[in-house]
């Protein structure tokens, strides 16, 4: 990374930290809870992006791993008396194991059939949760106490929860950014775009895909555990098919092959259906579906892709007089397999 790139990254992180630290003292507690949920959804969508965007394995069932994390947290705290903080990594581990167990058979399927299989998982989970009543609380679910802040912090429960979620989200995003920007990301993109070539280059697709699937369900499960602590309640009706589809919608709208797109996805998932259903109950879903189709056709790289393109154009203009810009290999390979007119225009512009 060049020194100007490093400076820009540090500047970005500092600005983000300032903004993130500012939020909890300006918003009402209700507004803050919503921002916390945005971060939680963003983590789950980030997990989905790894497996669906980078690895090209379409999952409609990440709501199930989110639910497994949420239930693991609730059961550990409520039934076994764990400290909620200790239960978070335990819930993540449970989700990781579940991801490994499901990923191993599921990833032998490809394309539409994997989507079908994961859809079936998502549809089967709520009845399973209802069936094992002694363990999961059945229809009524489990009530867990929301977090309260320690005395020394002088914070409200909402503010404390927000900072906890923010810290974990920052950690997960940093890890994803490093992993996907490095050898793992390249191996996954190679597998997605041409599996046989990737194999020839020494990438073992099954191993990479399975481990990525497990890691991505760890992300979803961690998000689920934090969801339990933020909401204070889990029930089968919180984890319907629509949740998993919602993650998928958020991922596509934000940009599946990106790390930061997950935040746009989280914002979309939290705010857009609420606004839309204020107008009409059915309209929420309609806006969901229409946005999904429109964004796939009009901006296949999602909002993150639009941002990246604008930034690239700006840089190209700024650097046009001095020297030719070098196209980075990562930004070239994140363009999807279809060459859209926009994408090819960008490539021409970058030259």
């Amino acid at each position: 990374m060049s020194s100007s790139g490093l400076r820009r990254t540090l500047l970005g992180v500092a600005a983000f930290a300032l903004l993130a630290g500012f939020v909890p003292f300006r918003f009402s507690s209700y507004g803050l809870d919503q921002v916390t949920l945005v971060l939680i959804y963003a983590m789950a969508i980030l997990g989905l992006n790894m497996v669906s965007g980078y690895a090209g394995a379409i999952s409609l069932g990440h709501g199930a791993f989110f639910a497994i994390g949420a239930y693991a947290e609730a059961i550990l705290v409520h039934r076994y008396g764990f400290s909620p903080y200790v239960a978070i990594p335990c819930a993540s581990a449970v989700a990781w194991i579940a991801g490994l167990a499901f990923g191993f058979p599921a990833l032998r399927l490809r394309g539409l059939y994997l989507a079908l299989g994961t859809l079936a998982i998502a549809m089967s989970l709520p009845p399973l949760l209802k069936r094992f009543e002694g363990f999961t609380g059945g229809h009524t679910g489990i009530v867990v106490e929301t977090l309260s802040a320690p005395k020394w912090s002088h914070m409200s429960g909402s503010q404390w929860t927000y900072f906890l979620v923010l810290a974990i989200a920052a950690l997960l995003f940093a890890v994803a950014w490093r992993l996907l920007g490095g050898a793992l990301g390249r191996a996954l993109l190679a597998t997605r775009d041409h599996e046989i070539v990737a194999q020839v280059m020494g990438v073992d697709p099954t191993r990479y895909l399975t481990l990525t699937f497990a890691l991505s369900s760890l992300y979803a499960g961690t998000a689920g555990a934090l969801y339990t602590l933020a909401i204070g309640f889990v029930s089968p009706d919180s984890f319907t098919l629509m949740l998993g589809l919602g993650f998928f919608v958020g991922g596509v709208v934000g940009g599946l092959t990106s790390v930061w797109g997950a935040i746009f996805g989280g914002l979309f998932l939290q705010y857009v259906p609420v606004w839309a259903s204020d107008i009409d109950k059915a309209l929420g879903g309609f806006v969901y579906g229409a946005t999904l189709i429109a964004s796939m056709l009009l901006m296949p790289e999602g909002l993150a892709g639009v941002g990246r393109r604008l930034a690239a154009r700006w840089h190209a203009r700024a650097a046009a007089g001095t020297k030719a810009t070098t196209t980075r290999i990562t930004s070239a390979s994140t363009t999807p397999i279809t060459s859209t007119p926009l994408a090819s225009a960008e490539r021409k512009g970058a030259r």
Partner: protein, 293 residues
């Protein structure tokens, strides 16, 4: 033993309905090579349409026939607007558009007709056949008759008319069909129309047993997916046999395996889908495709 036979009949009855929805999945798959995630919601809209006509005073049979015809047209429109543009797109694009369609159509049903459960009259309510200790309800006879009639019509059209031959050719070898002058786009459009019409049949058959509501098909379409997967997504015979097997398996599991019971029936579908895809991805009757690298 009597319980066994009653459950078998129950299972065949659900199975026949799953079979007609699975047939719809097979037709959209054969014409455009997609797994149509929105098929159930299309069938839901068809059923609502039929319900609306009955509310307006049309006789039940007329409403059903009208719904089948209108669904044919609707399926064709969906094909032209949403499916044709993504015909050659990668799987991710296809799944995204179809999931978008699934969510949007589901909400459209709620937007137009609301979220109340509406009762749908059974057209076969009066019939009944007593056979020893075994009672065959009118519904069973009616559903079986409709399924057989549907299959007969499909067989006659696809095996014995030029239109059917053209449709099969367009689905199997689009490039070559275009060269011999078959209007391929129109044939694929008709394929989606047939699929939507079959979905409408499944919808009006199952509506009296459930209620008509935007969520009515969510619990049904998963069994149709299982049936189509088991039979093979490109096999008509497979869809029918798959549907009957899934229906019977689901009922038997619920009756004789206490651990499963009525609540966990959907897990049967999950197991069938996964087992088939892992052991024999093309299904029992599907053709194995070989991809040239």
């Amino acid at each position: 033993m009597l319980l066994f036979f009653q459950q078998l009949i129950e299972g065949l009855m659900s199975g026949a309905i799953y079979a007609s929805l699975a047939l719809a999945l097979v037709f959209s798959h054969r014409s455009t090579n997609v797994v149509n995630f929105a098929q159930g919601e299309m069938a839901m809209l068809s059923t609502f349409f039929a319900w609306q006509l009955i509310e307006w005073g049309l006789p039940v049979y007329a409403a059903m026939a009208a719904s089948v015809v209108v669904s044919f047209v609707g399926g064709g429109i969906l094909y032209v607007v949403f499916v044709k543009p993504i015909a050659r797109a990668p799987a991710l694009t296809v799944v995204t558009v179809l999931i978008g369609l699934f969510i949007a159509l589901n909400s459209l049903g709620g937007f137009v007709w609301g979220y109340l459960n509406r009762a749908f009259p059974s057209p076969f309510a009066g019939w009944k056949v007593q056979w020893g200790a075994l009672t065959l309800s009118g519904e069973f006879i009616g559903i079986a008759a409709v399924l057989l009639a549907t299959l007969l019509v499909l067989f006659l059209v696809f095996e014995h008319t030029r239109l059917g031959l053209a449709m099969r050719a367009a689905a199997a070898a689009p490039e070559q069909s275009r060269l011999v002058g078959i209007p391929v786009e129109w044939m694929l459009l008709a394929g989606w129309g047939v699929a939507a019409a079959l979905g409408a049949i499944a919808g009006v058959l199952i509506a009296p047993r459930l209620f008509v509501s935007p969520g009515m098909m969510l619990g049904v379409v998963i069994y149709a997916f299982a049936a189509a997967t088991l039979g093979g997504f490109d096999s008509v015979l497979g869809a029918v046999i798959g549907g009957l097997v899934v229906g019977v398996a689901e009922n038997m599991a619920a009756t004789y395996v206490p651990w499963i019971g009525a609540d966990l029936k959907v897990v049967v579908a999950l197991v069938i889908i996964f087992a088939t895809l892992l052991v024999r991805p093309s299904g029992l009757f599907g053709r194995t495709t070989v991809v040239r690298v």
